[in-house]
């Protein structure tokens, strides 16, 4: 946690407006947010509060209407489309609620895909995909198609795919939204361990309080603005909590 110095993500005065006239929606209305390398930040808020828009703007999937996003010190506003594509492909790992796996490719092929698209030789891409799948404990499932995997397994494949490029930033949108509670717990424990053991920088969007509480820091959005920004202190171990005196 916060081992490396500096800034992984810096968002300043971020505004995002969709549509015009009658259909005009101000999804983000002046967001400031700094994320340090190795931080695990949850962004929480009601549906429609702007969580996904914030994530997509940080991840260069949507341009800001106003304001700036810097990833690893580089302002996205200064990059042309090609440079943004490369940044998305190499520096950022996305995980979505709906997994977004390619149905006709195996788990390992899905994970290798970002590397193959980036021009890596297939053998090397597959070797790295195998490593990423091991990290999410899915080696035995590597030859399966997404349709042959449970929801939780598919999401873990999606996480492996997000990790395979060794990105500086993981952007995760409602990772447990399509999962039952047990599979959701596993996915959250996996994200937690990525932050603990691999020092990944994670920005995760969720409307679930339990998932949000897994992060080290909680940013609450309402109507496109930051309502609260709370660092969650490291607590005690399970054994201590289990024997805590109720009085």
């Amino acid at each position: 946690m916060n081992v490396a110095k500096g800034v992984a993500v810096e968002v300043t005065g971020l505004t995002k407006v969709f549509g015009e006239g009658d259909t005009r929606v101000e999804a983000l209305r002046g967001i400031d947010l700094v994320v340090a390398p190795g931080e695990f930040v949850a962004v929480m808020g009601a549906s429609g509060s702007g969580k996904s828009t914030l994530l997509h703007t940080i991840g260069a999937l949507e341009p800001p209407t106003k304001g700036d996003v810097r990833i690893g010190g580089r302002s996205l506003g200064t990059l042309d489309d090609d440079a943004l594509t490369v940044l998305r492909r190499r520096q950022i790992g996305f995980v979505f609620q709906a997994f977004n796996l390619v149905q006709v490719l195996t788990a390992e092929e899905n994970v290798a895909l970002p590397l193959v698209i980036d021009g890596l030789p297939e053998r090397e891409a597959n070797a790295r995909a195998a490593e990423a799948l091991a990290l999410v404990s899915l080696t035995p499932r590597r030859a399966h198609l997404p349709g042959e995997l449970s929801g939780g397994e598919q999401q873990r494949v999606a996480i492996a795919r997000a990790l395979v490029t060794n990105p500086v930033l993981l952007l995760v949108d409602e990772p447990t939204g399509n999962l039952d509670s047990r599979a959701g717990e596993m996915v959250m424990a996996l994200l937690r361990s990525l932050a603990d053991e691999q020092d990944h920088t994670i920005v995760m969007v969720t409307h679930d309080a339990g998932d949000a509480a897994m992060a080290d820091r909680l940013v609450r959005l309402r109507d496109g603005i930051v309502l609260d920004d709370q660092t969650l202190p490291r607590g005690r171990a399970a054994a201590e909590l289990l024997s805590e005196d109720p009085s």
Partner: protein
């Protein structure tokens, strides 16, 4: 919670002495509750008076006399009755956060929404503590997991209630 029935339950698999019952109760069954040895013997005395347990004096390893307690048939029937019956579900509506909100509403210049906001932050810290502990604890016993789940779900429910308070009082 019924200490009586916990003790009957701990005797269901064979006779045990008081210190042993206390240790299992505290270290295994109800880790969040302290039970002093006096309470154990008082409870055993009452259970014996009611015919649910009986004791026998046994000479222990160090040559000391020990009372070893065993479940009677009557005690076993009482244990089965307790397990089969529904537990009381106390609503326990004495709540400190509610009290603060209610008092804040009655005092000029104190905003109950500020109370709600502070309590929400505290609740998130607590939820963080429990979910982290659960995620990081490798190979936790299933019963411990169930207790941590109970804590998580209660805290999530409480957060939801705070949202309701905020909405209804705005």
């Amino acid at each position: 919670m019924s200490i009586r029935h916990a003790i009957l339950g701990l005797l269901a698999n064979g006779p045990r002495h008081g210190y042993d019952l206390r240790a299992t109760y505290q270290d295994d069954l109800v880790r969040a509750g302290k039970l002093n040895i006096g309470q154990v013997y008082t409870t055993l005395d009452r259970l014996e008076r009611d015919g649910f347990v009986e004791h026998e004096r046994v000479v222990g390893a160090e040559g000391r006399d020990k009372k070893v307690y065993a479940l009677t048939a009557h005690g076993r029937a009482e244990l089965d009755r307790w397990i089969a019956g529904p537990s009381p579900m106390p609503l326990d509506l004495r709540n400190e956060v509610f009290l603060k909100i209610a008092i804040a509403r009655r005092i000029e210049g104190v905003d109950p929404q500020d109370v709600i906001e502070r309590e929400r932050r505290a609740c998130f810290e607590r939820l963080h503590e429990v979910t982290q502990a659960r995620a990081r604890a490798q190979g936790v016993a299933v019963e411990d997991e169930l207790l941590l789940d109970l804590a998580v779900l209660r805290l999530k429910a409480f957060l939801k209630w705070l949202d309701h308070c905020e909405e209804k009082l705005s």
